[in-house]
Amino acid sequence: MIGLLVGAPLLGAAVLLCGGRRLDRAGHWLACLLSGASFVIGVLFFLDMLGRSGDDRSLHSHLWSWVPVEGFQADVAFQLDQLSMTFVLLITGVGTLIHIYSVGYMEHDPRRRRFFGYLNLFLAAMLLLVLADNYLLLYVGWEGVGLASYLLIGFWQDKPSAAAAAKKAFLVNRVGDAGLAIAIFLMFTTFGSFAFAPVLSSATDASEGKLTAVGLMLLLAACGKSAQVPLQSWLGDAMEGPTPVSALIHAATMVTAGVYLITRSGAIFNAAPDAQTVVVVVGAVTLLFGAIVGCAKDDIKKALAGSTMSQIGYMILAAGLGPIGYAFAIMHLVTHGFFKAGLFLGAGSVMHGMNDEVNMRHYGGLRKHMPVTFVTFGLGYLAIIGFPGLSGFFSKDQIIEAAFAKGGTQGWILGAVTLLGAAITAYYMTRVMAMTFFGEKRWKPDAEGNEPHPHESPRSMTIPMVVLAFGSVFAGGLFKFNESFVNWLEPVTQFEHGHSPLSATAVTSATVVALVIGVGAAWLQYGRRTVPSVAPRGSLLTRAARRDLLQDDFNHIVLVNGGTYLTRSLVYADNKVVDGAVNGTAATFGGLSGRLRRLQNGFARSYAVSMFGGAAVLIAATLLMRAV
């Protein structure tokens, strides 16, 4: 039955990708239907789960034995517990909304059927990732989402930039995937298994060194998939994909897989404090990194991508805090799934109305022309900056509090970083809001000279935005109410109350102050003043941030040039040494062959002589054997 959750979208992907052109007309509705079916099944499971007590909620389903080898047992088996359930609902719920949105967004695309096939494939892989009961099967889902992401980023493959972005995402992700593979190898050698139950229950038996190694490799995997420093460079470029893809995969779901991985492997990290520290550092660095990049981008989607990076930084940081943070990491993940998906869909709606213009400097004053988009985007905006009472406020506030509760100097530093992050978040989001919806029109004709005529998007696009806006507003409060979310996850992730040196009220007040500072600064800069159509040169930091804080330059100089040099030397060595040896061998054999061939001269007499000689040699050898 759990298999159906994965099976429905997988069926959709198979039918759509193999079905051919006859499905062009109705295929996208089939995809929506199967995605919706998966969601309904998920809800049924959820209701069923609510009916049982906390410790009795984990379901297990063994489908078949995958690699039945003595001493190496890999199964295709699913585990549906509260953590997986949360992800299932998020993935299928947001996924279904984005399927519906895409019906409108991709209406004129000739390859729409394929697009929906890929979307279904992504859903299936992502569900497999969160439902697997062992790391090996998780790895299958992990690679599956990587594939779907690659296919969807490069969906408009005729655009060289999209093709390059897809390739980049794939390559950077390979680095992380290698980390996951190594982590699984280490688990197998350490625990003799890679199923969750035996590994996580016996985690404390292993030496700390091994656990740290496993933890760091898992973190590397998480960095790749969740675009954390130092493997963050692909996410900005991934915005080349269609906007629904950015919303679903590169904001709400797939990029949070790293958070899932770390939370799921909590038992390993709990026993490896050094690995946890690295996790926290990565999260904190990325949090600021993404936020700064987000401030400088003029491309609306890239600004949002920077924001995604930064928000996932929050989650990773929270996950690195251990049992005081896991639940809040997941809670922020879910609320973020709502408001970030909503923001991306809003951005897509704006682009839809503006002839696919992405430069915010060419927007302005759109609130009158796109009222629904404005309101839903605005609610998402308020949620992400943590406006009191909305989703983001509750989840982010909890993380900041937990960061302080880490204790000691570390706690103060982390608390300060998260507060600073909150202020910058407020700054860059206000900037996006102001440049897009407020101020005067700065519209420009597109490449073909068509003047933009901004208009509200069709129903199929606005309804998902409205639904997501509801989520952005109410989800946080619902989760916080009576600590329902924390209690829900507690059997899986454990929970400890952190002891913050600051009172909850003080933290909340500080958060609100940071928020006000951020919004105010941005409003002064972008709301009150006219936004220039061409970006000013800007300070050194701004210019660096526009170039993604020089990450690509770094990668290019260190990795690309280094790699090129390495390959060149290897090719040289291959040509000279290896080929030399191979060609030399071939020439030797060829020459030998030609010489031996001459013995075959066609005369029966010389054949007889060779037989006779051979016989003599063999007899001599036989006798000699005895003599020796």
Partner: protein, 551 residues
């Protein structure tokens, strides 16, 4: 002279004392039925040839041959089913013939090969330019002078040499006896019984008759030479042991038999006689399997003989000769293992390397396959040297797998033709994959099997043989074998590249559209190759059950 020599429990047919009453030999006809059926049908074929009108000979011969071979195969299966291959294995014909697992397995293989060969022999639609004409691979009237008036007339009259079928059957009869022979004289007689028809068959090519006759003469001369080796070795072994019976000789070698024949007191127990005699007998067999340095006849004969005969020879002779070699080494000379193993190591290494190396520079497809068969003889020798039950069964499996690949490959060669008959020069094969994709693909399957690529029977066979050799302590031999395989892969793949990735020649050959005969022969080859490659276990088990010689 003591009665019955020193053969002990098993009475020898060949040693009857003076003054003793000659007893009629006790023959177990049912046990020997496969050989008897085939020889009987061969004799019937001669009668048919003499009494039937020319027109109806072909149909009758093909029918009778197939029926006889099928009946003989049924007899083999029946014997195996009643346990003669295992628990009830015994020595029949007064100690002359063994009926045991290896013998029955090899006889079954030879009979199946022979059935498929009859199909290839019977193909009569080999002229692509004249689809209606009845053209087979054999000379219209072999006795006529090549290129002479007689030949022209015979061709014009549409005569065909239907004697090939009885000749084939006689050869098969000898081959059935060869691996089952349990004394050295029976071995020699079996050798001659199957060799003489083969010499004749080699001379019967319809095209390039001079080359064909030259091949036959060479084969005959060198074959006679090697027969002399075998016979001389037999004499020496008799001198050593006082018997020609396999188990009798083995007992003398292991000193189990203390009685000494007074007449042979001078020679019995003389180790020099044993070593030289054993080596000479082995050499006689190595000639037949085409091992270096007794391989020189192979390329010339394979090239000159009519291609169906080449295919039959390459497949069936190898099966029979390896069977005899196995029995000789495992039943007669196991006590001498430490003497013959190092020498056989050398022979196997030389055979693998020389076969693979010289094949690289071949330009004629039939010669290439000849050298390939030499290399394969080397691989088989590696399994023989294992001296274990696994070694025997791996060689049995390899032989079965290899013979069908070989038959199929040569059957394909018969179909690629130009004005001068078969277009055997490799340059003519360029681009064949574009003109006849199916035929080229089939040939590619056979080549891949020769090269030992997984999912073909060649891989399963080679793996079994190398595994047995490695477990039998012949690790270095396996290393050489793998290197030789790599070299061999080169020239097999080169042909595939040539067929599929080269531009076809303007005056390239055309491919005959064969009748159901060759088609089914090739189909059998492909099916066996794939089945033994994909699901070899059943047949490996079968060969495994047949791995014990009766003594």
């Amino acid at each position: 002279m003591s009665a019955l020599g020193s053969a002990g429990a098993v009475p020898s047919l060949w040693m009857v004392a003076e003054g003793e009453k000659l007893k009629a030999p006790d023959i177990e006809f049912s046990q020997l039925s496969p050989t008897l059926i085939v020889l009987g049908v061969a004799a019937l074929g001669i009668v048919l040839e003499a009494f039937l009108p020319r027109r109806s000979r072909y149909g009758a011969q093909v029918f009778v041959s197939l029926l006889g071979l099928a009946a003989a195969f049924a007899a083999v299966v029946a014997l195996a089913a009643t346990g003669s291959g295992g628990t009830k294995a015994q020595i029949a014909g007064m100690g002359a013939i063994a009926v045991d697992g290896p013998a029955l397995f090899l006889q079954g293989t030879i009979l199946l090969v022979a059935i498929v060969s009859v199909f290839i022999f019977a193909e009569r639609r080999l002229e692509p330019s004249a689809p209606g004409a009845q053209v087979d691979s054999f000379a219209a009237q072999p006795a006529s002078v090549p290129g002479g008036e007689g030949e022209r007339e015979a061709t014009k009259a549409g005569w065909t040499t239907t004697e090939v079928f009885p000749l084939l059957l006689f050869a098969v009869g000898g081959m059935l006896l060869f691996p089952a022979a349990n004394d050295l004289l029976t071995l020699f007689i079996a050798l001659e019984v199957f060799s003489l028809p083969l010499y004749l068959l080699c001379a019967l090519a319809r095209r390039r008759r001079l080359l064909s006759q030259e091949a036959a003469v060479k084969y005959f001369l060198l074959g006679a030479f090697s027969s002399a080796f075998l016979l001389f070795g037999t004499a020496l072994l008799y001198g050593y042991a006082g018997t020609v019976n396999y188990s009798g000789i083995a007992r003398v070698i292991s000193n189990a038999d203390a009685t000494t024949d007074p007449v042979l007191a001078q020679t019995m127990g003389n180790d020099a006689l044993l070593l030289i005699g054993g080596a000479l007998v082995i050499m006689g067999l190595l000639f037949k399997v085409g091992a270096v340095p007794f391989h020189m006849w192979t390329p010339d004969v394979y090239q000159g003989a009519p291609t169906p005969v080449t295919g039959f020879m390459a497949a069936a002779t190898k099966v029979a000769a390896f069977g005899a070699l196995l029995r000789l080494l495992y039943v007669v000379l196991p006590g001498l293992r430490w003497d013959w193993r190092p020498v056989m190591w050398g022979v196997a290494i030389l055979t693998m390397l020389a076969g693979a190396l010289v094949a690289i520079t071949q330009t004629d497809i039939k010669r290439l396959l000849a050298y390939s068969s030499i290399a394969h003889a080397g691989f088989l020798l590696a399994g023989v040297i294992a001296t274990s039950e696994d070694g025997v069964s791996s060689v049995l499996f390899y032989l079965a797998a290899y013979s069908f690949v070989t038959l199929g490959a040569f059957a394909v060669v018969t179909l690629v033709r130009d004005a001068g008959g078969e277009a055997t020069h490799l340059s003519k094969w360029a681009g064949l994959g574009r003109r006849s994709p199916l035929l080229a693909a089939v040939f590619a399957v056979f080549l891949l099997a020769f090269a030992g690529i997984p999912l073909t029977s060649g891989f399963a066979g080679k793996f079994a043989v190398f595994k047995a050799a490695a477990e039998g302590g012949a690790g270095p031999l396996v290393v050489v074998g793998v290197i030789a395989s790599a070299i061999a892969a080169f020239f097999y793949l080169r042909v595939i590249v040539l067929m599929f990735f080269s531009e076809p020649q303007a005056d390239g050959p055309s491919v005959a559209v064969p009748s159901v005969m060759t088609t089914s022969a090739i189909a059998v080859g492909v099916i066996v190759t794939i089945v033994l490659g994909v699901a070899p276990q059943y047949f490996l088990d079968l060969a495994g059950q047949a791995g014990v010689f009766v003594r």
